[in-house]
Homo-oligomer: 209 residues x 2
């Protein structure tokens, strides 16, 4: 089955399906109808059937979905069975939080090193790796087949280091810096913009008064 031409809106719903199906598995629930799934996830049953049809017929009329098979298949579609090597740029609070985040391994991301420009941070040993000098990041990317850079530094300097790391061979960026990175077409960027989320919360609070 082809996964091409699936809209990003559908793709962005898949992690949620994956999470809820995982919860069902934890409760030993083996099969579920689109109607029951709808009550848990909050999407309509018709939306669920339409979403999952994009990837081939998972459901069976009168039986519903096999929870384990669907969970596994969505995991494969999301690429969770693949392993990517990652580095974190910026060893501040956020960089350290991200580096210690257990969710990574589950998603198939292996963090190989954490980089900083601050001489007082460089050399500090973390659980699985130590903090290295940002100057060495390109070299590290080349020698260790790093696929992804996780950018946890302020706006200033973010574009420059990303340019350098792309030159060294990374293929994707998980970007926490509040900047729209300019990258070549073959480079994947996923942004987490905390300020935009916070401003949205501010709007909703105000609107709610």
């Amino acid at each position: 089955m082809s996964e091409k031409n699936i809209s990003m809106a559908v793709i962005r719903r898949l992690p949620k399906y994956h999470r809820y199906l995982g919860d069902l598995l934890d409760k030993d629930i083996q099969r579920i109808s689109s109607k029951e799934l709808s009550e848990i996830i909050g999407f309509t049953a018709s939306q669920i059937r339409q979403d999952l049809n994009n990837f081939g017929g998972f459901g069976q009329q009168g039986y519903g979905y096999n929870v384990e098979a669907l969970h596994q298949e969505i995991g494969k579609i999301l690429g969770l069975d693949k392993v990517y090597n990652a580095i974190v740029i910026g060893a501040g609070n956020l960089g350290q939080a991200i580096s210690n985040y257990a969710g990574f391994k589950k998603a198939g991301f292996e963090i190989k090193a954490l980089f900083d420009v601050n001489p007082r941070m460089i050399g500090i040993k973390m659980r699985d790796f130590e903090i290295l000098d940002s100057e060495e990041a390109e070299d590290f990317v080349r020698k260790n087949n790093i696929d992804i850079a996780i950018v946890c530094i302020p706006k200033k300097g973010a574009q420059e280091i990303v340019d350098r790391l792309i030159g060294a061979g990374i293929k994707g960026v998980w970007n926490f810096a509040p900047i729209d990175l300019q990258v070549p077409k073959h480079i994947v960027v996923e942004n987490v913009n905390l300020t935009e989320s916070l401003y949205t919360l501010s709007y909703l609070m105000k609107d709610n008064e």
Copy 2:
């Protein structure tokens, strides 16, 4: 002018306008056309005119937009001129990163305390406040007019503490726990789901191979 019935899609674009207009101000640029703005932000000029028309006529034919006035007005629409009191639940790496995040004050959020259940964390002094016992959170909310709880704990326990804090009077939640919180209608929730973002990155990387 009424701000009601503005779609969330428009609202979610406003922080981006605000950020780019702020960058222009930093460069002392006083006026800009929708076409120029389009080249910087990446939305079409027609989208920009349509978005900004929602909030009244900011632009002037043949003049373009007054950058400072527009920046200020969008800030007001986003409620950045209002001040809300916030607490952070969970003093792990993420909770500490969030607590030290300078973007808060700019958005009008004042963090008043950080809470944890771990006896070894309780009592530790941070820059502006100390880590308190989660058991005291409800009391603290009541006594200090706390508006918002920032939830930085794992899924387990998140719903329960949010229920308690809503009972104590909070009106909004900035939620980092990977769970869809169940809240009464008058409570605002803004989610930051790092796992969903990471899974999307995983998909995009796989799709890019």
